[in-house]
């Protein structure tokens, strides 16, 4: 439902009212922005010399190396948890009862544990048990544990959304259960949930900011180191927030486009 069905095509009087309210709300927004800027200016946060470092390449290079670390960690987490997610989804849908219980139990537990708690476990509990992972894996392992469950639920939704006729047709063609899954069900299911997968990628990229706690070289951690060095906390963290916004905004945009494209290609009711 688009927004416009909520109200009639505005007449002259309503158009005037809408215009009036537009002006009022624009003024309120503008007022808030000005208020913020005045507050910033009062404390000297808008001074040119405080923003000047961010026009220089070395600072950006420093932060972009951090972004590279973010992307590296995100790539590891994405690949590992997508693979684990497929197996967990298949396990949860399996006819073998112990397998189903195991997968269901894992998914339900991993979904309800805070990631930070898992990171503390890898940081402080595992080393005392003799498992001291490299820095990257101290971030990647807990994130994978958490995201595998999320990916599993996405894949499961995709598999369940596929019409039964698909797997029935495959079985009647003489394909085995495994072949049906591999050649018929999974390819369609994965295509079906691509937008959700990209959205999960956004959430996962956001999660890598926990590298700040692990002291892994990613964007937020580098920002912290940089701000400790140049004492420009406000500017540094605003710039970093902006970088996150640009990267994830791009991914969200891709997810949105994929969804629109899917809807156009597959009109309501038909599936796969």
């Amino acid at each position: 439902m688009s927004a416009s069905v909520l109200y009639d095509e505005p007449g002259p009087k309503t158009r005037r009212r809408i215009f009036l309210w537009s002006v009022v709300s624009a003024l309120v927004v503008l007022g808030l922005v000005v208020l913020g800027l005045v507050q910033f200016a009062k404390h000297g946060q808008l001074d040119a010399e405080k923003w000047a470092p961010f026009t220089q390449w070395p600072i950006w290079e420093y932060l972009l190396v951090g972004l590279l670390g973010t992307l590296e960690a995100a790539a590891y987490v994405a690949v590992l948890s997508a693979v684990a997610g497929i197996f967990l989804a298949l396990g949860r849908l399996s006819r073998v009862r112990p397998l189903r219980w195991l997968a269901t139990g894992y998914i339900e537990i991993a979904r309800t544990l805070p990631v930070l708690l898992m990171i503390y476990v890898t940081l402080f509990a595992l080393p005392s048990a003799g498992v001291n992972l490299p820095l990257l894996w101290k971030l990647v392992l807990p994130l994978t544990v958490a995201n595998a469950a999320a990916f599993a639920e996405i894949f499961r939704a995709g598999i369940l959304a596929l019409p039964k006729g698909q797997s029935e047709a495959a079985v009647s063609l003489g394909l085995s259960g495994g072949q049906t899954m591999r050649f018929v069900v999974l390819p369609q299911a994965v295509r079906h949930v691509t937008p959700s997968l990209v959205s999960q990628l956004v959430s996962l990229l956001k999660d890598t900011s926990l590298g700040y706690i692990v002291a892994f070289t990613e964007l937020l951690y580098r920002a912290q180191v940089l701000s400790a060095y140049n004492h420009l906390l406000v500017q540094t963290f605003l710039v970093v927030t902006f970088i996150y916004l640009v990267c994830n905004g791009f991914l969200s945009f891709v997810a949105h486009r994929l969804q629109g494209w899917r809807r156009k290609r597959e009109p309501e009711g038909t599936n796969g």
Binding site: M1, A3, V5, L6, Y7, D8, P10, T14, I18, W21, S22, S25, A26, V29, Q39, F40, K42, H43, Q45, I109, R111, T112, L113, P114, V115, L116, L117, Y120, V121, F124, A125, S128, A129, V202, K206, D207, S209, L210, Y212, I213, L220, A223, Q224, S227, L233, V234, T236, F237, L238, V240, T241, Y244, L245, N248, G249, S252
Partner: protein, 214 residues
């Protein structure tokens, strides 16, 4: 086990901090989220744009980056509040974006005829939204909003990273002193799972109570 029992008081204090901050943030996020949704479907273009930008901003920026920005950086600009309050405010504005997304998907599930009927009866936009669309939309999104609330409780653990002693921080501190990771972290984990289960059961019950059977 002994480590868990000996440190029950600080751990319970951590739990109570988690609980009150989660409840406060949940209420705030629900209210703000519904307001943002209303703005997003309103006839006023400026409000629609602001709400859209708001949701996009907070869906795409990590909570930890926001927490660090608000707790460590903004005091330099003279914006200083008590630490738990700052954290709650950040969580409210962050999760409100997710609530708004969930509620908007609920608005989309309300049948077109409902809005058309409301308009045919001569209801204004505010009446249509307030007494026809939102009541039905909110009933349809009990489960998704419940999931957002579970995520909100999990996200309170990030407060530990900015120096608030809630359950995760309390567990970590206790472990650093006593080096008994297994009982302490398992205990904290089970507590979070119990909280999530409680919210899940609560939303399940609520959904059965308010769902519209068609």
């Amino acid at each position: 086990m002994a480590a868990l029992l000996d440190n029950l008081v600080p751990l319970l204090q951590g739990l109570s901090a988690t609980l009150w901050m989660a409840v406060l943030s949940a209420v705030g996020a629900l209210v703000l989220g519904v307001i943002v949704t209303a703005m997003r479907v309103s006839p006023i273009p400026v409000l629609r744009g602001v709400a859209f930008a708001y949701v996009q901003l907070f869906l795409n920026v990590p909570l930890l980056a926001l927490l660090v920005l608000f707790v460590f950086a903004l005091p330099d600009a003279g914006l200083l509040m008590p630490l738990p309050m700052t954290a709650v405010v950040v969580l409210v504005i962050y999760e409100a974006a997710y609530v708004a997304e969930a509620v908007r998907s609920g608005v989309n599930t309300v049948a077109l005829g409902q809005a058309e009927a409301a308009r045919a009866l001569g209801l204004t936009f505010r009446q249509t939204l307030g007494s026809v669309i939102l009541p039905q939309a909110l009933r349809a999104v009990v489960q998704p909003v419940g999931n957002v609330m579970i995520a909100l409780v999990m996200n309170t653990s990030l407060f530990a990273a900015v120096g608030i002693v809630e359950l995760t921080a309390a567990a970590n501190k206790t472990n650093l002193i006593h080096a008994q990771p297994i009982p302490i972290f398992v205990g904290a984990g089970l507590t979070y799972m119990a909280l999530a289960l409680l919210i899940g059961l609560g939303t399940g019950w609520l959904e059965r109570r308010v769902a519209i059977l068609r």
